[in-house]
Amino acid sequence: MKRVLPFLIIAAVFGIALVTAWSLKRSGAETAPVRSETPGVSPNARNPSTSASAPVAIPAAADAGADPPHAHGPVNAPVTIEEFGDFQCPPCSLLHPVLKTMEAEFGSRLRVIFREFPLVPTHEHALVAARAAEAAGMQGKFWEMHDLLFTNQNSWKDAFDVRPIFEEYARKIGLNLARYRQDVSSETVQYRIFLDGKRARSLGVKGTPTVFMNGREVPFESLAPEKLRTLISAEIGKRGQ
C-alpha cells in the first residue's frame, strides 16, 4: 500500500487540478452572480431562454448609458450587439476585427453599439483613450478613432504619454485639432464615459470585453467568429428575417 500511496496522492491532485481548472473556466464564462440574480429582461429580449446555462438578460431597470450611443447599423436591426470595451484591453482589440467582419457579413441586419468601460487603474491609458474616442465622436468621427485606437493598440499602450499619439490620430482622421483638444477634457466627454460606466455597473459588468446580444450577455468563449456568426444567425432566424 505504501508503494502505491504516493501515486494515488499524485493522481488525486491531478484530478483536483483538472476539476478546479474546469470550474474556474465555467465561472469565468458564466455571468457574474449579481447579474444572474437580477430579475427582469430587456424589452429587446423577446425570447429569453430560462435554462441554467443561458446568458443572463439585461434588467429593465438598467441605466441607459450615454445618449445617443455610438452605434453602427439601423435602430430596427433584428440583432443588436452592445459591447462594453476598453481601448487598452488586449482581448477587446482582438474582438474588434471580429465585430467588423460580422458587420460586413450581416449588413443592415446587425447593429453594433460601443460603450466605454475603461478599466482604470489597471489600464493606465484607457481613460485617455476613451476620452480621445469620445472627443472624436463630438466631431462625428467616433468610429474612425475607435478603429485607429484598437488597430494600433500595441504601438501606444506602453507609451509614457499617449496624448501626442492620439492627437496624431485625430489629425489623421481629419479632426479639427483645436476643438479636439478642447473636447478631450470637456465635461460632456467625461459625462458620457461616466454614463456608460454607470450602465456597465448597473448590469454587473466586471471585465472587458463584455458583450450583450439583444439584451442577453454573450459568454466570452462565444465571441470567436464562427460561434458569434452562429449566434447572430440564430437570433435573426428567431425574428424570421
Binding site: 500500500m1 505504501k2 508503494r3 500511496l5 504516493p6 496522492i9 499524485i10 491532485v13 491531478f14 487540478a17 478546479t20 481548472a21 474556474l24 473556466k25 469565468g28 464564462a29 476598453d86 487598452q88 484591453c89 488586449p90 482581448p91 482582438l94 478599466l119 487603474p121 489597471t122 489600464h123 506602453d158 466586471k206 471585465g207 472587458t208 466570452f220 468563449e221
Partner: protein
C-alpha cells in the same frame, strides 16, 4: 506487506520526508496560482490585480507566452512535476529527490528572470506572478535545507 527496494534506501526518513512533504504542500500553492492564471489567459479575460496594478500589463506582454504557449501553463506543469517528485521523495523513492533539486533550480532561475522582467523591462508587477516567484523561492529554500541535511549526514 512487501517493502520496495526504494523504500529501504532511506533508513532515517523522518526529517527529509517532512521537508519533502512541506515542498509538496508549498508546490500546491504555486499550482493553484498557475492554474488560475492559465484559465484566465486561455479565456482571454483581463486578470484584475487587487494589491498591485500591473496584472494586465504583465500578462498581456510578449513575455507571457513562450512559443505561443502560456507561461502560466508551463508554470502549472512545473508545479505539478514538483509536487509529484516531492511526494515520491517523501515516500523514499530513490532518484526523485535529485530530480526535484534539478527542476526547482531551473524554476528558481526562471523566476529570477521573470521578476527582473517585471521590475526593469515591463515596469509593472503582477501579484499572481509575484506569488508564484515567492512559492519558487520557498521551494528553493526547502530544497537547500534538504541538501544541507543530507550533506551533514
Amino acid at each position: 506487506m512487501a517493502v520496495t527496494p526504494e523504500l529501504t534506501t532511506n533508513p532515517n526518513p523522518s526529517r527529509p520526508a517532512i521537508l519533502y512533504a512541506a515542498a509538496a504542500v508549498v508546490s500546491l500553492v504555486g499550482l493553484a496560482d498557475a492554474i488560475y492564471l492559465t484559465v484566465e489567459h486561455l479565456s482571454g479575460r483581463s486578470v484584475k490585480c487587487t494589491i498591485v496594478s500591473g496584472c494586465s500589463e504583465v500578462l498581456s506582454s510578449q513575455y507571457a507566452t513562450v512559443g505561443g504557449v502560456s507561461l502560466a501553463l508551463v508554470g502549472a506543469i512545473a508545479y505539478f512535476v514538483v509536487f509529484s517528485l516531492a511526494t515520491l521523495a517523501a515516500f523514499g523513492y530513490k532518484g526523485s529527490g535529485k530530480l526535484l533539486t534539478f527542476v526547482v533550480a531551473l524554476m528558481f532561475v526562471t523566476s529570477l528572470w521573470l521578476v527582473y522582467l517585471q521590475a526593469f523591462v515591463i515596469k509593472a508587477f503582477c501579484q499572481f506572478c509575484l506569488l508564484s516567484a515567492l512559492v519558487t523561492f520557498a521551494l528553493t529554500g526547502l530544497v537547500v535545507a534538504i541538501l544541507l541535511r543530507e550533506r551533514t549526514r
